[in-house]
Symmetry: C3
Subunit: 428 residues, 3 copies
């Protein structure tokens, strides 16, 4: 039995966050977290499907740990991704998992156990939901057999409480590949159409009910719940080489890396991850956040409910509900707005983020000038410079230089400010 | 003997602060503070005069505690207000008090004692002043009888050092009402004209000299001294349910309400009142201020010499010498300027506030965007939104949406910021 | 033997910092530091050369301690300055020192010792450099005699590793004056030309090698290294009358003056000098900086690597790598940018400051409005007002009033912010 991990997606909806598979949570890339869980659940032979854009990075990341194949035509979607594994999988049983979802390792264990104990041809993971989610629902008959996958049935019309997650185990991969190869559809759902054809031809499929963690990682704001999930699973603690000043305050669950320095009067309120070599300066506040390595959270900055990559520098800033890449730096007084004046949900590119709190979404290698305001949900592309003292209420393309445009009025100052000390003192 | 409390005024000069009678000091509306003092001084039957705009609120506030009558024509001023009580007062002795002034309860005691021990027909409270105040002065003869009330005599021309405060006790209210009913004057001073007529007709009036606290509450900047006065009188202490973090600092006299939370590194420097359920977050500073209930003074905010109503939220702001209503919220980095560059007194609507330090005057239900600057003495009407990153140097009408207007210049960024760590590190 | 201290320069390149000779380091004017060092090295009779612009200040500063002469024509440069001392010096030996350079007192000792033990006619201090500096190099023959002073030879073409510093001792001042009086040159180098003539005429000159501290003080950014040098030499400690709150943090080497107050949660990270009567308020951070007397470093301000004169007031500001005069005050949220977005060196008036970190250069009696941004290396002339909420990216002439220019868009706010508590609470 092999596992086929689909990781050829181009993370378009995650932009300007770069390829999500390599986004480091607690210092480890997402794809590594996922492959390790698959392995831990007992799948020893793992094949990862990549695309031209990330194939070499995947290979470099895993070395001998997995086999890597390329999906040549990324337009072929999930069907094409699975078919890319045809040769290497051959005809053994195959567990297919899309790296677009983060699930608990128990999901892999459940499907494996069901397969080992059961007699169906295929097993599909059904995530139990207690409110409507616009996905594909598993329609199951009295014998527990899946009759159909109903896409977005609408609230109240769900055929069951189980949403189809791409954790699928097929006994006969050769048959699957055969159906996939011959499926006729112009749409994006060829894989699902193939499954439907198989069901029609009496290939038996059973639902495996799953009640654990599930988070699709499709939009940038999905990063934070995934961080929290990995954080909960990880061992907490403070590295021996970390230096926490006597008057620094560290509360709640934290993971603090090697050579981290936390200065006097800084407050770290868990859950927080602080990567190696980062500095939390005097009077800074970090709460419920992921701070990558080599970051400096400067004097009087607050970072709240945010995900920061490596080498992010803040300085008297407020960074709230934001997702920032690597090598990003903020001038003093720059602020991420994270709540609309009308307190409505933040909508990004027409997609409701589901929350009224969302800050900045920022790529890599970005500089932001002093006292600049970044409006809720704004996206800044990698390699951009944002000038000082402006309000950015629109998305910024990668490698842009955004400046303010204003005129100063200069006249003679006719007031003579006395340097008289007593008068001056009254101001205190 | 009854007390007639005049509370029908429309607080126009207090705008955008809403009806001052209901402004809560230390959780208790101003009018309740005043009526309680009158009661404590021995006036058991109290009649409050309201107007259409506040009659039901007055009734709801006091229940059975006082009787409430309506002044129908608010244009009739104080004369009309007193006459509104004609029927309910009848012909017993009446102490008239205007809620426009805040005085110590000893003022009521003094006038009551003078009346009980003396033989004059009326007693008027004379506030001793040691410098010129532009009010009405009591002109008194060698027998202690008031001969005249001289309005704004001009500095150096005062007939005495006693300013007429509306704490007046008349033995024969029937006679007072009679004079008030027949007074002929187009001006705003019918009540004073009636008193003058009475004096002419040999109704004897005596001055009761008073040296205690007095603060007219006419303009928003009068709120702070009144707060300080009530604070001094109140019992200090910290509610048992309040949670003050180990590394929070509380100094001086404070009143801290139920369920208040003060986080680590916060500093509260008395005199300070902090209402129930409010939060003073990490590294915030509150000094010499009134914080209503349900407020959050967020990270790294300073609130100095200010009066905040309920549910005010700050976040890395400076709020200095300001008066804010209820449900007001500031984005990170928004600042109230409270001192002109030339350090001159702040003038509001042509009225000199008497101080070179005055910040924002803000109504209820207001939102202010991040990094916005509010100039000294600016008034923001209730229900308004103030956008991000702007400078507001003018008054804002209620229910306004104020936005900046600018253009950003966007070009290609030709600089390639290296992510080289060593280079980056040099910046620290 | 006398010492002639040249202090008639007009500090043009230091503008808007006023006459550098009177710039107070640790409470003592630069010129006093220098004269005291000369005196300590054994030069008992000191003559200071001033100009019309500073003669009375020099006299007032030193009283009987030195003799003061005036250089009438400042266009005559160093040659004119030395000649101004002709009468008062007479024909004794003279040590000439330019106050444009800060050197260790050992420099004066070295040259004096060399003169006392040696037999040359003149001694010139040669500062050993280990990398190219664009100054005048001493060309020395096998006998140790100076053959020439080579101005800016270019890197790799230096005749020695010794740069000519104006710490020169001449045995026969009468002869020096004679050569100076007759030198013919239109250029700025008459003094050097005279020395060259003397060498040609077999006046023997020897180099005295010096390896100690040297800092020309020509541009504003030279102030900080000079501060650090004086700080290192000075006695550290905290005045008895200073009050450091229990929860204030003071680390590293500091000099804290009389009546200084350091409030709770403030952090002072040495090396720091804090002058008499200054206040470091709650949650402020001062590091590696010189704070003059009567300053207030307000709540949540950071002052880093900066030189502040007297009576500078900050308030929730970031002041980094800046040089500020006296009586300067910043509104809350005003920020000195100190790093370009592209992280290149800051260039001021075409001169590379040699560092990618440089903040504001500010004269005396300046006010800066709230939330204003001052770009790296900007100079603000004395007596200027800078309005609120603007970005100043250009130099500002003395006595200017700089204001923003914008339009606000005001419309009706159609959103009704509910004051519903539960909804409100969700924002926390």
């Amino acid at each position: 039995m092999k596992a086929l991990v689909l990781a050829a997606g181009r993370s378009k909806r995650m932009k300007p966050v770069e390829d999500k598979n390599f986004l480091k949570f607690l210092g480890k890339p997402l794809l590594m977290w996922q492959v390790e869980m698959v392995k831990k659940a007992g799948f020893e032979e793992i094949v990862v499907v990549g695309g031209a854009h990330n194939l070499s990075r995947i290979k470099a990341l895993f070395g001998e740990m997995v086999q890597v194949v390329e999906q040549n035509d990324l337009e072929e979607g999930m069907c094409g991704a699975v078919l890319a594994g045809r040769e290497i999988i051959g005809d053994c049983a195959v567990m297919i998992f899309s790296s677009n979802d983060v699930v608990d390792e128990s999901a892999f264990e459940l499907i494996k156990e069901a397969f080992e104990r059961g007699d169906a041809d295929s097993y599909l993971l059904g995530k139990k939901v207690d409110k409507y989610f616009p996905g594909g629902y598993l329609e199951v008959d009295e014998d527990g057999l899946i009759k159909n996958i109903v896409e977005k049935p609408g609230e109240g019309k769900e055929p069951s409480d189980m949403v189809n997650l791409v954790v699928h185990l097929h006994k006969d991969s050769a048959k699957l590949f055969e159906y996939l190869a011959k499926v006729k559809s112009d749409a994006d759902d060829k894989y699902e159409v193939a499954l439907a054809e198989m069901m029609k031809d009496e290939v038996t499929m059973k639902a495996v009910s799953y009640d654990g963690f599930w988070q699709p990682i499709k939009y940038p704001w999905h990063v934070n719940p995934v961080f929290k999930y990995f954080f909960e699973k990880a061992e907490k603690g403070v590295a021996k080489s970390a230096k926490i000043a006597e008057k620094a305050i560290v509360r709640g669950d934290v993971i603090i890396g090697e050579n981290v320095k936390i200065f006097d009067n800084a407050v770290v309120q868990g859950p927080c991850y602080i990567g190696d070599n980062s500095v939390i300066a005097n009077n800074a506040l970090v709460r419920e956040s992921h701070i990558g390595s080599g970051c400096v959270i400067g004097f009087s900055s607050e970072v709240a409910r945010s995900f920061l990559g490596n080498e992010v520098w803040t300085h008297s800033n407020y960074i709230g509900d934001s997702i920032l890449g690597n090598n990003v730096s903020f001038g003093a007084g720059a602020v991420t707005g994270n709540l609309r004046l009308d307190e409505k949900n933040i909508v990004v590119d027409g997609v409701d983020s589901g929350s009224n709190k969302l800050g900045l979404i920022c790529g890599d290698n970005v500089r932001v000038g002093v006292n600049t305001s970044l409006m809720p949900g704004v996206k800044i592309g990698s390699g951009s410079f944002i000038g000082a003292g402006i309000v950015v209420a629109q998305d910024v393309e990668p490698k842009s230089f955004v400046r303010g445009s204003w005129e100063l009025k200069i006249s003679e100052n006719k007031t003579n400010i006395s340097s008289d000390r007593e008068n001056f003192r009254k101001k205190l």
